[in-house]
Symmetry: C2
Subunit: 433 residues, 2 copies
Amino acid sequence: MIAASVGGTDATHDPGLQSWLESANDPATDFPIQNLPFGRFRRADDMDWRIGVAIGDQVLDLRRARLIESYDMNLIMRLAKEPRQALRAAISNGLQSGSPLEKQFREALVPQSRVELSLPCRIGDYTDFYTSIHHATTVGRQFRPDNPLLPNYKWLPTGYHGRSSSIAVSRRGLGHTFKRPAGQTMPAGATTPVVGPTARLDYELELGFFISRPNVVGEPIPIEDAEDHVFGVALFNDWTARDIQPWEYQPLGPFLSKNFASTLSPWMVTMDALAPFRSPFKRPNGDPAPLPYLESASNRDRGAIDIELEVWIQTEKMRAERLAGDRLTASNYADAYWTVAQLVAHHTVNGCNLCDGDLFGSGTLSGPRPDQAGSLLELTQGGKKPITLSNGEVRGFLEDGDTIILRGYCQRDGFRRIGLGECRGTVQAGRRL
Amino acid sequence: MIAASVGGTDATHDPGLQSWLESANDPATDFPIQNLPFGRFRRADDMDWRIGVAIGDQVLDLRRARLIESYDMNLIMRLAKEPRQALRAAISNGLQSGSPLEKQFREALVPQSRVELSLPCRIGDYTDFYTSIHHATTVGRQFRPDNPLLPNYKWLPTGYHGRSSSIAVSRRGLGHTFKRPAGQTMPAGATTPVVGPTARLDYELELGFFISRPNVVGEPIPIEDAEDHVFGVALFNDWTARDIQPWEYQPLGPFLSKNFASTLSPWMVTMDALAPFRSPFKRPNGDPAPLPYLESASNRDRGAIDIELEVWIQTEKMRAERLAGDRLTASNYADAYWTVAQLVAHHTVNGCNLCDGDLFGSGTLSGPRPDQAGSLLELTQGGKKPITLSNGEVRGFLEDGDTIILRGYCQRDGFRRIGLGECRGTVQAGRRL
C-alpha cells in the first residue's frame, strides 16, 4: 500500500489492486487495473463507435456497464477534474476483485480480439512539436552542418501545425496500412526537380497528447493550469518522406513530406494513470532558465514523465518467416527538453484556443545516445550508414512491406507497470504515376 | 444574351437577368441574381444555423424556400456537379422577375441586417499557400536580403498547415474582434527574448478557397479534375504578428505569429458564379513550365480568376469622426503565380486526403507594383516607412482599435458585376500579462 500523496497518486494506483478479470492480472499486460485507458470501438453489429476502457485482453463498454450515457468521447474528455477522477474511481472499483458490480461489468466486456478500433476521439487541430533536443541537434546537423541547433530552441518549444485528416488508428494485423507517397524532389546536383515515389521513407517515434478542456480564444492558459487541459497520451508515428522534406520545407516548414499519413495507437492513457511516473524536470547546467510563462514549481517538481519507448521493425520477409522483428531503438520521454505543460502554455500565450480532441505531437523522441535515435534519418545518418537487421536484410530507409511498431510503458518501484499498447503501421507499394 | 459556351457560363450568368427583389437589381450590390453565394445564418429565435444564399440585401433561406431539407452546408458542398448546378439554376429561376415561385421565395427571405452570420461551413483542415510571387519576393528580401525567392518557388506551390480553431467570421459592425496577441520576441541586438503584446501586428489580404468533394486517402486528384473539388471562395485575412514570426519560424514555419486569429467573410462565392471571370494562366517568359502534374489545357486556358481586391483601414479616430476609412491597396487575384487547380493537385500528389470544408488560403495577394502590396510589412517596408492616412494618422503597423476591411469583386464587359462582400476585423487591446 502506498501513501495517497506520492506524486498525486490515489487508491486507483495501488499496486496491490487485483481484478476479478484474470487477464488484467497478467504481469505482461499493458492494461492492468491501474491503467484504464480510453478508446473507441465497435463490434461487427454496431453502427456507432462506443466508448471503452482497455482492461487485460478485454474492452469494458462504459455504457453497457452503466457508467456513462454518451457515445461521445470528446464529452468525456471535457469533464472537469472531479467528475473525471470519480469516473476513473468507479471503473477501478467495479473491476476490483470482490466488487459487487462484477456481474454487471462482466456483461459489458468484449474481447479486444473481436472489436474494431477507431481513432480514440474526434481530433480537432493537430500541432507537432520538436521537444527532443537530441533529435533537433542530430537532424539539424544534417540540414545545417554549421548551425545544428537554432538560437530559439532553448527559449521556446518549436511547433507547427500538421494535418488532421490523414491521421489514422493502428489496428490489428498490419496496423495502419498506407501507400508509399509520391512527391517532388530535387536530386543532388540536379537543376530540375523530379516527381515519383519517395525513396527515403522514414518513421518518427513520438507521443501524442490529447487536449481535454478548451480555453476561450484570447485567454492564455497559465502553466500552473496547463495539465488540467490534457487528457492523456498515445503512441504516435509521424511518417516522413525525407527526400520531399528538404526541397519543400523552406521557408514555411514541413508539408507534403508529412501529411500523407500519421498513425496513432488506439488507447489514450490518461494523465491520471501516469501520476506515479512523474519526475522532476531539469535542464542541463548552463542552459537558460525558462521564461516565467514557461516555468512553475509543479513543472520543476514533476513536469517530466518517465515513459520507456521502443521502435521495432518487422519486414515482409520476417513476417513470412514468422519472426517477431528487431528492436531498432529504446528511448525515454523523460529526456524531452520541453514538458507537456510548457507546450500548452506556449501554444496559448498568444490567445490561441485549444479544443477537446486537439492533438499535440511531441516530436521525435530521440535520447542522448546515438542508439536511442527515434528515426532512421538519425540511425543511418541520412541513409549513408544503412543498418543490418538480424535476418541479414539491410535498411537505409523503409521498404514496401515494412511494418514499424512503437511500444511504450511506465514502470517504477512500488507501482504496477502500465503500457501504452502498440502503434503499428505498414507501408505498401505506391500508386503508379 | 450571351452564348452558353463562354468560359463555362450558362443561363444563370446572363447579365440581362433581373430579380423581382428590388435590392438585387441595384448596380452597387455585391449580390445580384448572377452571384448567389452560400452562407450560414440564424435569426434571434433560431437554435440552429440555417443555409442561406445572399441576394441583394436579403438572405434566402433555402429550406424555407423548399429547395433543400438539410441544415448541413457541408452536405451541399459535397454535391456532384449536376445536382449542384441544378440547385443553382433552381435558386436563379425562383428569384427571376416573373417567376411563379415569387410568393414562396418571398416568404423565405430575411433581411441581412437582421440575421447573425456563422462561418459558412464546418472548416476541417486549413492550409495556407504562398501564391503571389510579388509578396514572396518582397517579404523574402526582408528576411533573406541575398536570397529573396527560394529555389523551390517556381517549381511547387509552397504551403503549410494553419490553425482552424481560431478562424472566425466577419460580422456586422466591427466584424471579427480579437485581442492583440502576446508572444515571445527577440529584440534587435538582444540576447534574451522578451514576452509581451506584439508591436508589429499586420493584416494579410488573401482569398480562402473551400474544398467541396473529398478524395480518398492515397489517391491524388489529377489537375484536370481539381476544380471539381473546389466549392467557392471568400475573402480571408490572415492576421500576423511580424515580431513573433522571425524569432519562432525557423526551422518549422509560422506558428504563434498566425494562429491567434484569422477572419473569413461570410459568403462563399461559388466557382459556378466565377465562371465568366476566368482568364488564361500564363507564366512570365523564361520561367520554367510547370511539371506535368501541375499543368493541363484547361489550367492554361482559364486557370486564372480575375478578382479585384481591396484593403481598407478605418481607425478608431476615423470611426469617431464618421469617416469611411482609407483604401490602402488594390490588387488582382489573376496575378497569382499558382492557380487553385495547381494547389489541389499539388496538395494531393502524395495521397493526402482533402475533405469538404477544408480551407485553402491563397497567401497574401500582392500585385506587381509596390502600391499593390497586400500587407503593411510590404507597404511600410517592415515599419521603416510608415504611411500617413488621410486624417493625418500614421501607421507602421496596426494600432488598437484599427479595423481592416477586405473587399473583392469581379467585373467584365458583357457580364454583371458580382462581389464577395466584406471581410472586416478589428484589433482590441491585448490582455495584460
